[in-house]
Subunit: 512 residues, 2 copies
């Protein structure tokens, strides 16, 4: 057991894997070759169509101990992963790994198969019940939490081998050309699945909308797809995309948003060519709303918006605030519709979006990103994985990727939630290292990293409530009281991998 | 020295390379892993911009014996390859290989550097003077002729290692995002360069049109580009694309075209979903003209046109004869313009277009292709590389790829050229094996492969001049006289690789 550079205890070995402790956001540059896979030769008369998921699982020659993957653009509407796990159980497969891009509440259906030993590990972050049960020790399943860029990296380096990728394809032809913008299960971008299509040993397109050759547009190409399976439905469209994402009406959220936009303005980044990312949360969208106003007032023409895309960003594109949207995931119907018809709304892979180990990702070109947090600490470290209960409940998303890439990474959060302060002595879990976080904005104060004395001066000049983070921590804990520390047992139930593959933190079993 | 299945003498070894003789179009399926390359890590503040080609060549750490590549979408207007060879000479580099997608007449400027030993091999087919001089023994430079699909395959399998790819980018940003549709050197599709971008050890974007980030659209992405160099001009726009490609007015050509279209109609393939490829030659376009007429008369809605794209195919797309164009190379300005504005005009990589060793190429989905020939023989073998002089003069293009992929491969050619018959006992050089050729159409007769007795019957029913190829050969040679055989020396100056990597023929030095 050694400490990484953030003081987190990292074992040398966990469940057979040697761990490399996190050092800093930049220096890890392993001398590694891009992962490979066997080439395939396919003749003009060969058909890829298979009658069922079972047939596809068999054709992929899955054996005990292998990994499968799916993508999570269908979110809580996804039916595919559950179907696959049930089929693998029916085939008698055991000790399988799920190397999907994310796992959601809807996948709680696989819990019985985890208990049974069909699934023994999840090579991705998990949202919701499965993660919580693993945290409690109620479910035995190794979890390795990875960011979107880190997941792409792990496939490209070969650290994670996907033996068979099952790609939910809302629109697909018989050769496997596919897109996400047409059909009853349209989800928009297929950005996370690109890496699977290029690196999985076998690639299966699963569709509920088989169209005449050639599918148009083509997001993932026939030259990467081994088999095509038609099933009745990929998912519940109502749960795949929300009909709308909305600006918050909460007064505290609105104040946070106003402050955050002022910080961006004060930073000097808000000029022609400005690039920007926010999440889909109400406060994030309120920041976008304020940024839009400032852009209009100052006649600023932005360059690109990126990340998971909301209707709000679509409006900004259409109104000329951005020239381009780079979309790795559509958050609502308006985004799906925009990607379908607007060539300036561009689909990108998770690798291009955020991987640290390619020749340059889009995240590196970002001026400013607005990020959330369940907790931050006095060293600017951010937690989005666990909550103050200690339970693992959320996947990382692109959090640590864009924090590292953007010139200005701003975390927005209410100063307290219930009786719990958002600022801690130390976060329960480090998702994103403080070295890559620039500003924390709450409704009661703005904390700026020591890296930015000029920004502090400018914010003070604007009479904004800049506060030293340690003093701010004391101020808030005076209101909330010092939170009772969560008690953990020694057992490590999950790893949190930093985007570069080093271990930034571990998640231990909560002592109930 | 052993004979391949077509009776061509293939040495076991040539210039240090062990040769695998051609057997048939389908059976070669080497167990091979996709080629790899070292991963790179690039931080947000790292710039890719370099001040000159020389700086880029140095950054790529080129050493004697390595390979560089360029793409040939700029055709006879390309300036880049010549500039690179001169710089390599200035750096004192020797024994370098050119692994470009094609070499053209404009590259005759590099002849002095071949003489000097700076360039000792060309890993691609060569059009024009360099090839002719090599055939005559006047220039010493190993040439390996590859089809477009075969070249993509050779990079993907790692048989050819490109140490540095220099991609002429008509529109490019500072991170290397690029497209071919904007700028003074616009050439349309960058299809051949995709494979280089994915497989070359180092990738350099060279542009005369550096645009604000992000370039739009993105054909080749920043995540694959190491360096960006701005130069004054990539080429001579007038020689990059022709202003127009035209239907022939030659009566023989028009008759050939009429027959070829009748063959397609008689084959039964001309129905909804029809897919089609022709070259840019006047007779090929005349076939397209007749096919269009037949489609209109019969109310046929086609699926896709593919290959190198001409304005003629753009018209067919716009008039609704096709839903899609798959474009690996634009042949004229109208095609470039169409790709710029019409999302149904889709850019594809050479790998997706025609490689035999991926999970299914577009060529495999073709119904019918119209191909040219310098010679055909009584076994339906086709030559497009050498002429009856014996000189290597032409690159293969996609000839053997689409012949193998398409359901119906039709060769169109005049029955004689000057005093030389087009049909021979044996072609001087086999480019495309007769096993993949279905019909040969001349103005004096139509020869159909034995594979298609039904087609023969239908053509006879339509009173078309179907002839047995051996009888037709005799008939023509009665007119032309038996051509004097070209005399060759033993020395092999070039290999003709079949798309699968086996050696279908060799090219020997012509005895003058």
């Amino acid at each position: 057991m050694a400490k990484n550079s953030l003081g987190r205890e990292i074992p040398a070995l966990w469940r057979g894997r040697a761990l490399d402790p996190y050092i800093d956001p930049w220096s890890r540059k392993p001398e590694v070759l891009r992962a490979t896979r066997p080439l395939v030769r396919r003749h003009p008369s060969d058909s890829k169509l298979l009658p069922s998921l079972r047939a596809a699982l068999e054709k992929c020659e899955l054996r005990n101990g292998m990994n499968i993957s799916t993508h999570h653009h269908l979110r809580n509407g996804d039916l595919l992963l559950n179907l696959l796990v049930k089929e693998m159980d029916a085939m008698g497969l055991m000790d399988m790994g799920i190397a999907s891009s994310s796992v959601h509440d809807v996948h709680a259906e696989i819990i019985p198969y985890i208990r049974k030993g069909v699934i023994t590990r999840i090579e991705t972050g998990v949202n919701g019940l499965i993660a919580q049960m693993v945290s409690k020790g109620e479910l035995k399943c190794d979890i390795i939490v990875r960011s979107h860029g880190g997941r792409a990296r792990s496939l490209v380096t070969g650290e994670v081998e996907v033996d068979a990728a099952f790609i939910a394809a809302p629109c697909c032809d018989v050769t496997g050309n596919m897109n996400g913008v047409h059909g009853p299960s349209a989800c928009g971008s297929l950005g996370y699945a690109y890496t699977d299509a290029r690196y999985a040993k076998k690639v299966v397109a699963v569709t509920d909308n088989l169209v005449r050759y050639p599918a148009a547009p083509i997001s993932i190409s026939q030259s990467d797809v081994d088999y095509v399976v038609q099933i009745e439905s990929l998912g519940d469209p109502k749960k795949i995309v929300s009909t709308t994402t909305r600006v918050t009406r909460d007064p505290a959220g609105l104040l946070i948003a106003k402050y955050a936009a002022e910080v961006i303005h004060a930073s000097g980044l808000l000029k022609d060519g400005f690039s920007f990312q926010t999440g889909a949360g109400g406060t994030s969208l309120a920041v976008a709303d304020n940024v839009r106003r400032l852009m209009a007032e100052n006649g600023v023409k932005g360059s690109f918006g990126c990340g998971g895309i909301t209707g709000y960003f679509v409006d900004m594109l259409e109104e000329g605030y951005f020239e381009t949207l780079f979309d790795v995931q559509c958050f609502d119907n308006k985004a799906v519709d925009s990607m379908r018809r607007n060539p300036c709304h561009r689909e990108i892979s998770a690798d291009l979006y955020a991987s640290p180990f390619n020749r340059g990702c889009v995240a590196n070109m970002l001026d400013c990103v607005i990020l959330g947090a369940t907790e931050v600490d006095v060293d600017f470290n951010v937690n989005v994985n666990t909550e103050s209960s200690g339970y693992l409940l959320h996947n990382t998303g692109g959090h640590c990727d864009v924090a590292a890439g953007a010139k200005l990474a701003i975390v927005v959060a209410p100063s307290m939630r219930g009786r719990l302060p958002v600022v801690r002595d130390a976060v329960t879990t480090v998702t994103t290292p403080g070295e890559t976080v620039d500003v924390i904005v709450t409704e009661r104060g703005i904390c700026v990293s020591d890296k930015h004395p000029d920004l502090v001066a400018e914010l003070r000049r604007r009479n904004l409530p800049v506060k030293d983070i340690r003093q701010f921590h004391e101020e808030i804990t005076k209101v909330t009281g010092k939170p009772r520390p969560v008690e953990f047992e020694d057992e490590i139930v999950a790893l949190v991998e930093y985007r570069d593959g080093s271990i930034i933190d571990v998640i231990r079993k909560v002592h109930e």
